[in-house]
Amino acid sequence: MTGLYIHSASAFIGKAHADEKLLKEELRKYTPDNFRRVNRFILLALIGARQCIHDHSIAGDTAVYLTTEYGNLSNTVTVLDEIYTAHSLPKPFSFINTMSNTAAFYLAQNLGIRGRSLTVSSQNLSFQRGIDLLMTDWSACSVTSALIGGVDVSSLSEAGGDDRNARGWQMVDGSGWFYVRTERKGACGVFRENRSFQDGATCRKWIRDRKEPFEDLVAFGPSIGEKEAAEWRTALPTTDEFDYLGQYGYCGSAAACGIGMFVKRFRGRSLLHIDRNQLGNYAVIEVEVF
């Protein structure tokens, strides 16, 4: 048990390439503040986190852990083009926003919180690594409440003409967030497990040998291919599956969005989320919704 009690969760799924004005309108539902100099990535972070803490008052020392697969990718490409292709100076707003932690800064500023803030990216398992870091701070008692989320803008580089990628998933903008505290009172769920494994065999052995066998829903992350998912289905004690990628679409932070959607939709259920990176390391998150 991680002791990460979920007090609120959100999952904002946006249409790829939607007008940023629409995102600003969406954000105005949650805060009257006017945001200048922000880009799509920052807007998504603000919308998701604001949706998450909408009905909650949060502690002033709440920390922010923003996880992302690609960060401000479009901004970074623009800035690199300006420097290396056009041989001109990059525009300051674009340059500043290439730093992914700018989004965490805007978030902390808007919410009036002064806890630590960091941005984490780790190929294919960014959200899981963010939880790792949060648990480290948790165990050192340096953080007692936190907002942790995954944010990514849709990337259409691998998409076909209908905004779907090679596996048929709709490419979307995604921002999934969780407000977590050490207290169980008032919580709507808990991250029961967050474990990393060297390889799939070790991961399967751990699941098989658990004292409390898992018998509820399972979800496979984006890096688990169809063939491997089929193998997992035969190895796991449950075949009930939450196919969030098929239902809501794919972005670099699909795991955070999918788990956020699960917490919102499935009261009284548990989810075992399995994913891997390209090196073959596995990560398992188990979430229980009260």
Binding site: N34, S88, L89, K91, P92, F93
Partner: protein
């Protein structure tokens, strides 16, 4: 023609400022002599805005402002800005 009497240039500059600084006002709301920067200014632009505008001006009009004192003087208002772009 001096920039401060060229209405088209001044409208273009106002549009450039609104777009580059991501402002949510109409260009008509910016007076030709309104202060653009500082706490006394309704727009409340700051140094990062100034840098953003100066690069946009360099790209559009080929005018480079390198000195910060000159920058403050040039960008005091739309009229001073227009005279810098188009001195005569």
């Amino acid at each position: 023609m001096k920039g401060s009497v060229d209405q088209r240039l001044k409208t273009d500059l106002k549009r450039l400022i609104v777009e580059e600084c991501d402002l949510t006002i109409d260009t008509d709301e910016i007076g030709d002599d309104d202060l653009l920067f500082g706490s006394d200014s309704r727009l409340g632009l700051d140094s990062i805005d100034a840098l953003q505008i100066s690069i946009a001006v360099q790209n559009k009009y080929g005018q480079l402002i390198t000195d910060s004192k000159q920058l403050r003087k040039v960008m005091r208002s739309i009229n001073t800005f227009a005279d810098f772009i188009q001195p005569e």
